[in-house]
């Protein structure tokens, strides 16, 4: 019984659902602040200290609004898809070692890196479905853009994720993270940089945010969504961003592991994990602010003509120099 309670606590409170939710809200606030500061603005300022409660206010407000289902929409898909997308991302999150072990203890297995990336693909497919089911021209365009962009960029992302897997000699996330006494970002910087660029496209952030380019497609796939369903769509996107950062941390920055000075190692691991994620979010947000939006044809040709060959090259390079890298691992 004690074991069961511990399990429930881990899944629901820490480091499970509640922690992921609050951390996502915090990252969302931080992103908005960074973006505002880079544009010489202040950003949210009066909702709680320094506006830190702004994401909560947004979500609560959306949840308390009227729930409209347009008459043309496919009712069931329209209602379920946002929630399913959200839950798949959170489920994927629970396989990452957050405080030294995954949310569900002993849930890691050989090849869970591929499994987690498949989960993220499914989540994006549900995002596509939600846009498709809304029977709105803008929603349709946004949804097809999500699919075109996502399916394209999934290939280089997986190829690039293979580089750290190759160096660590394992497809298990926890093993990859645990093997980095020297972070793979230093050992294989080419893969690291490309991974960040590709991730930017996967997360639909500038300069690749054509699926919700306001000036072209209004709200993209979110156009017809209001109230609680919109809240779930927004949450999905925010959790995805944090998840992407967490994936970078696990694969290239040594996961939650770092120096333990005193006391419980779990606490230190957790602290390192959070700090590293915040650093990655800072980088991606910086890129977002610096670059203007690309056109859809540029995004697609950039994927197939530039990023895909480059990611194959980077994998080849990793394999070629592996003999020199191996002594530095372990």
């Amino acid at each position: 019984m004690v074991v069961d309670l511990w399990f429930v606590f881990r899944v629901l409170v820490f480091p499970g659902f509640t922690f992921i939710f609050f951390f996502t809200m915090f990252c969302d606030w931080m992103e908005r602040k960074i973006e505002a500061r880079m544009q010489n603005r202040v950003g949210p300022a009066f909702t709680g200290p320094a506006g830190i409660l702004q994401p909560f206010a947004d979500i609560i407000k959306l949840l308390s609004k009227e729930d409209i289902i347009p008459s043309g929409a496919k009712r069931n898909v329209f209602r379920l898809a946002p929630i399913l997308a959200f839950s798949f991302v959170v489920f994927a999150f629970s396989f990452l070692p957050i405080d030294g072990s995954a949310v569900i203890p002993n849930s890691s297995f050989a090849g869970d890196l591929i499994f987690v990336m498949a989960l993220i693909t499914i989540a994006n497919f549900f995002l596509f479905l939600s846009g498709w089911a809304s029977s709105n021209p803008y929603g349709d365009i946004g949804a097809t853009r999500v699919l075109t962009q996502f399916l394209g960029y999934d290939i280089p992302l997986t190829l690039l994720a293979l580089a750290p897997a190759f160096i660590a000699g394992s497809l298990t996330i926890s093993v990859i993270a645990a093997n980095q006494y020297l972070p793979f970002a230093i050992l294989a910087p080419w893969a690291f940089v490309l991974f960040i660029v590709t991730l930017q496209a996967e997360l639909e952030k500038d300069p690749f945010d054509i699926p919700h380019a306001e000036s072209e497609v209004i709200g993209g796939l979110e156009t017809e969504f209001g109230g609680g369903k919109l809240a779930f769509l927004r949450l999905t996107r925010d959790v995805q961003i944090v998840f992407g950062a967490a994936l970078v941390v696990e694969l290239f920055l040594g996961g939650p592991y770092g120096p333990v000075f005193f006391g419980l190692p779990e606490l230190w691991y957790f602290l390192w994990f959070v700090l590293k994620i915040l650093a990655v979010v800072l980088i991606t947000e910086y890129v977002t602010c610096l670059f203007a939006r690309l056109r859809i044809d540029q995004v697609l040709s950039g994927n197939w003509k530039v990023l895909l060959p480059l990611s194959v090259l980077s994998l080849a390079l990793t394999v070629a120099v592996a003999t020199w890298i191996y002594p530095l691992v372990m």
Partner: protein
């Protein structure tokens, strides 16, 4: 619970901007709200593209007859609770276009309006003041026209 919802509503009013035949003077002032100088994101105000996302409809212009239908449809697409702010002399009463053969002389001929902000065009400060007045009236939670 309803206290929490009211708090959230006050802290995150997302706005939709609709031009029902304005001369573009007012629209420039509305966009000026988002610039670094006025930065209404401080109050959690965000400009949204879709009426389904919005809480507050910022209307400018004197509502041409062709626009009336669209204005009404946009208003009906917004989820409750929703509020309407009429910005500029045109949106309040027709302004310089009053009595013209093709305009309806004001937003309130078509949809219920919560706050009128006169001026041709009103300064951004005046618009912020109007929105603050709207938020104060939300504290007593009176969705449109009741």
């Amino acid at each position: 619970m309803s206290k929490l919802a009211t708090w959230a509503r006050l802290k995150s009013p997302w706005v939709l901007h609709f031009n029902s035949g304005a001369c573009n003077g007012c629209d420039i002032e509305v966009i000026a709200l988002l610039t670094p100088r006025y930065d209404v994101e401080r109050f959690g105000i965000k400009l949204e593209g879709s009426p389904r996302h919005a809480d507050v409809l910022l209307t400018t212009g004197s509502v041409t007859k062709q626009c009336a239908e669209r204005l009404k449809r946009i208003y009906e697409q917004m989820p409750e609770p929703k509020f309407v702010v009429a910005i500029g002399a045109c949106a309040c009463s027709g302004g310089v276009f009053k009595g013209n053969y093709n305009v309806l002389d004001g937003v309130d001929k078509v949809i219920p309006v919560n706050v009128y902000i006169p001026g041709c065009p009103p300064k951004p400060e005046a618009i912020i003041d109007g929105v603050v007045k709207l938020l104060n009236s939300v504290k007593e939670a009176k969705p449109n026209g009741k």
